[in-house]
Symmetry: C2
Subunit: 288 residues, 2 copies
């Protein structure tokens, strides 16, 4: 049971976590802080949080669990602001999609509290943002990756684990670098490709007609391009190396595809499409 | 009212068209032909078609409306096979995603029947294939692009138009070249990007873990990579110029994105993502 939970950034993820823990009876009090006052007031009105504090530092004071659910680029500053107010038993965790940059920021900012910082990342989300989009079931059946380091206290890890289990999620421990590479491939790369496609089409001469004739496949394909721009800017900057590596591989493969079309190589094309279809079909048999 | 409809290729599109016309009471008899006998027998069992013919030529004999719903690469051969059996009032149309190559094949193959060939393309579909995946509502509220040429008889165009209207679709007349460019951008490009992404990830060292951690966004993004490989091979070959042009523009934009990440240009990245999000959000206000 969490006595006082401080959520810094009460958006889709932070809001859904608060809702899920309340629904599970796993938290007594939820204090929120974030940049947008209207969003925070809405969070109180919706019953997602009990009250709003006027700063991140005040929000964490007296909390036994602190969750940073902010864009990756805001984590370092916030960690510095809250460090002086953390209790000696307070556990701090985050939900960022890149772990290496956050762990190094936490190491610098938290000092003696660093062993109670548990880097985390729920593999869940939608393209929507803000507390209005949050819902208690977001994490049910999903994975939450935790990337503890050598210094991380086992008890802190266990408390974060049990918080996520209360939301219906499964927790997995992974190495930081491995997490960042996997996420570059499965999440960061597709988001960038989708943003890029929508923008490429928007800048074509015929863009109005093009979007007018976009069918269901296009809509599914580009849904993630409606995600929060600041969040994705921060992810690009924080996971630069792994993202550039994945983009580089993709670009080489795209070059090979263009070459095959250029030389009318139907055999090569059909093999590629059949191989990809087999992999994609296989995904449908697994967790949704 | 269509007296006898011949569907060549009783898959997702051909089967859905037959179902929709039956549901609307707009057809008396449906004759089918296609490559897979099991699929055709299933089509009869499901009541999608009334009977199977043993060749394309026999299927069109006595039909007043012939619909080619085959992969684009099979159209030329089939048009040559059916030409001798077409009646002087028979209207022929197709559902191919590329129009220029089909119109030129029809011009060569159909001879005196060419004025009653109406090139068509319903902007509808799913990633599934085969008659099992067909359903009567597939075209409801969707657009069907018709690309008649100078020789096309107005009465033939009108008959194809009224067939599609009976399915609940809206018809739009468009220039052939324009259609092929628009489709290269809105449909062919996203399909190729999705196939390529799944294959790039499948060939990474960690591919099992990567697919294991793929979340909802990835699934939406790659759903179209489960589409029929032969159909997409044919589309690539038939619409080569427009597809290479669209892929080339996309690749340049991807290069610019990689350069911005490489130089840590957060302002550029946020502008790109915000621009794309605005365009994508705008799509949600329009037809689904």
């Amino acid at each position: 049971m969490i006595r006082r939970l401080a959520i810094l950034g009460v958006g889709l993820i932070g809001g859904s976590l608060a809702r899920a823990l309340r629904a599970a009876g796993a938290v007594e009090e939820v204090v929120g802080f974030g940049r947008g006052l209207a969003n925070l007031e809405r969070a109180v009105a919706l019953g997602v949080i009990d009250r709003v504090e006027s700063s991140a530092a005040r929000a964490v004071s007296g909390a036994d669990m602190v969750v940073l659910a902010l864009p990756v680029g805001s984590m370092a500053t916030t960690l510095r602001q809250i460090a002086p107010q953390l209790g000696m038993q307070t556990v701090v965790t985050d939900v960022g999609s890149v772990k290496s940059s956050i762990v190094s920021a936490a190491h610098t900012a938290l000092g003696e509290h660093f062993p109670r910082f548990v880097p985390g990342h729920p593999i869940a989300g939608t393209e929507k943002s803000g507390v209005e989009a949050s819902f208690a079931e977001l994490f049910r059946g999903r994975r939450v990756v935790l990337t503890p380091v050598a210094e991380t206290e086992p008890d802190a890890l266990e408390r974060v684990r049990s918080m996520w289990r209360a939301t219906g999620a499964e927790t997995v421990v992974m190495d930081i670098g491995h997490h960042d590479e996997i996420l570059a491939a499965t999440s960061h790369l597709p988001h960038l490709l989708a943003y890029c496609l929508v923008d490429t089409l928007a800048r074509m001469d015929d863009s109005r007609v093009i979007f007018d004739f976009a069918a269901g496949g296009f809509r599914d394909f580009t849904r993630i391009a409606a995600s929060d721009p600041v969040m994705w800017r921060d992810i690009c900057l924080a996971n630069r190396t792994a993202i550039l590596d994945a983009l580089g591989q993709y670009r080489s493969d795209l070059d090979a595809l263009m070459a095959a079309i250029g030389r009318d190589d139907g055999v090569w094309l059909q093999e590629l499409f059949a191989r990809a279809k087999r992999e994609r079909d296989a995904l449908n048999g697994e967790r949704k």
